[in-house]
């Protein structure tokens, strides 16, 4: 988070999408933007980490290998706990999802390099609803497609919970369908809102520091919002991890519905 340098700009400027390589395909603008750049950096960071972790495999793992193994066990246990043994075929997807979101969240916390143009500033792709919604829609599509592929029309049992009295059969399935459709939205909103809120708080506190410093003798108390920002920063590291975890475990739970559709 660039709270040391661009502190006098507005709090929303950090979320602005800027073109780095303009590309237009017909009427569509598919430019390579700062958001794309930070997604690429995220993927590169994850790849590098996993490459380092699996480079020199040994029975007694070294530091990198045990870090990689801990993550593997963490995700594998989570998936097995939520979706059972059958769910393990989705391990590559869940692991990729978790690592990508975690990398995006954490990389967005790095300070920008002072003096660089705005389009090179640190950017958090997951602070944009369209990115998180796209990720959530991948999970949603996976659940729907695999659910019908595995269970056929039996997948529709998901919308008829056991023990519903016959005179409510016209209403409950409709509510269940709406509830099912709202899943990707709530997944997307949660991740996006958390990242957006965290980065906004940074910028606003940083703005307090700047305006207090400009106020002359009262500038001394600028230390308070600075300390506040420090505390929020530590909290944001936790939030970055937690939100990646929440997104991944809810994906596991939804995948479980595709495997075992009866409630």
């Amino acid at each position: 988070m660039p709270f040391l340098m661009t502190m006098l700009s507005g709090p929303m400027e950090q979320f602005e999408i800027m073109q780095i390589i303009p590309v237009h395909l017909g009427a569509y603008d598919i430019s390579f933007t700062n958001s794309s750049l930070w997604m690429v950096i995220g993927v590169a960071a994850v790849s590098l980490f996993m490459f380092m972790a699996t480079r020199r495999l040994s029975l007694v793992p070294g530091k990198m290998q045990s870090a990689g193994e801990t993550l593997y066990i963490f995700i594998a246990d989570m998936l097995r706990g939520a979706a059972g043994k059958e769910g393990m075929k989705f391990f590559p997807y869940i692991f990729t999802l978790f690592m990508f979101i975690l990398a995006s969240n954490l990389l967005g916390l790095w300070p920008s390099i002072p003096g660089t143009p705005a389009k090179w500033h640190t950017f958090t792709p997951t602070s944009h609803l369209i990115v998180t919604l796209a990720l959530a829609m991948v999970t949603f599509t996976l659940v729907v497609v695999y659910g019908f592929y595995k269970n056929g029309l039996g997948f529709l049992k998901l919308f008829v919970p056991a023990g519903v009295p016959w005179w409510l059969m016209w209403l409950i399935p409709v509510i269940e369908v709406v509830s099912f459709l709202s899943r990707p939205i709530s997944l997307a909103i949660r991740l996006f809102a958390n990242m957006l809120a965290g980065h906004l708080i940074f910028k606003i506190f940083a703005g307090f520091v700047a305006s207090l410093l400009a106020a002359g003798a009262w500038g001394v108390i600028a230390i308070l919002p600075l300390l506040g920002n420090f505390a929020v920063y530590l909290l944001e590291i936790l939030v970055a991890f937690l939100q990646a975890y929440v997104f991944a475990i809810l994906s596991c739970i939804y995948i479980n519905d595709a495997i075992h559709p009866s409630h």
Binding site: P61, S66, V178, S179, S182, I185, S186, I189
Partner: protein
């Protein structure tokens, strides 16, 4: 770290046997206890961090709002299609609220279930 721990584990029984103060079974039992204890500690480390109250609040709000948004959007879409504005929007809002509450209820039920499992003593 695990490197060092593994070495320490290997060393333990030799020492006990060499000192000869224990009968045949005891050093093995002591080792077993030690391993179980160490394993318990690492498992504790691997448990997910408990979510903060604020995080929980965010999660439940997003569940509720998502239900409303989806059903509201479906209602507006149907209205446009059929030209009955605002009939389906109103039905959608009612259904969305019900679905949102259902979402919240499910999320809380999962929460309580998890908390219940965590409280259970080890078997």
């Amino acid at each position: 770290m695990p490197n060092r721990r593994a070495k320490a584990r290997d060393k333990q029984p030799e020492k006990s046997v060499a000192s000869g103060r224990f009968s045949d079974r005891k050093p093995l039992d002591a080792l077993g206890e030690k391993i179980a204890k160490a394993r318990g500690e690492t498992e504790k480390l691997q448990e997910p961090t408990p979510e903060s109250a604020l995080g929980k609040g965010w999660r439940l709000v997003s569940e509720l709002v998502a239900g409303l948004l989806v059903a509201g959007a479906l209602g507006v879409g149907l209205d446009r299609l059929v030209g009955t504005s605002p009939l389906f929007l109103l039905i959608g809002i009612a259904l969305g609220f019900a679905a949102g509450l259902l979402n919240v209820k499910r999320a809380m039920a999962a929460e309580y279930q998890q908390a219940g499992e965590a409280d259970k003593p080890d078997e």
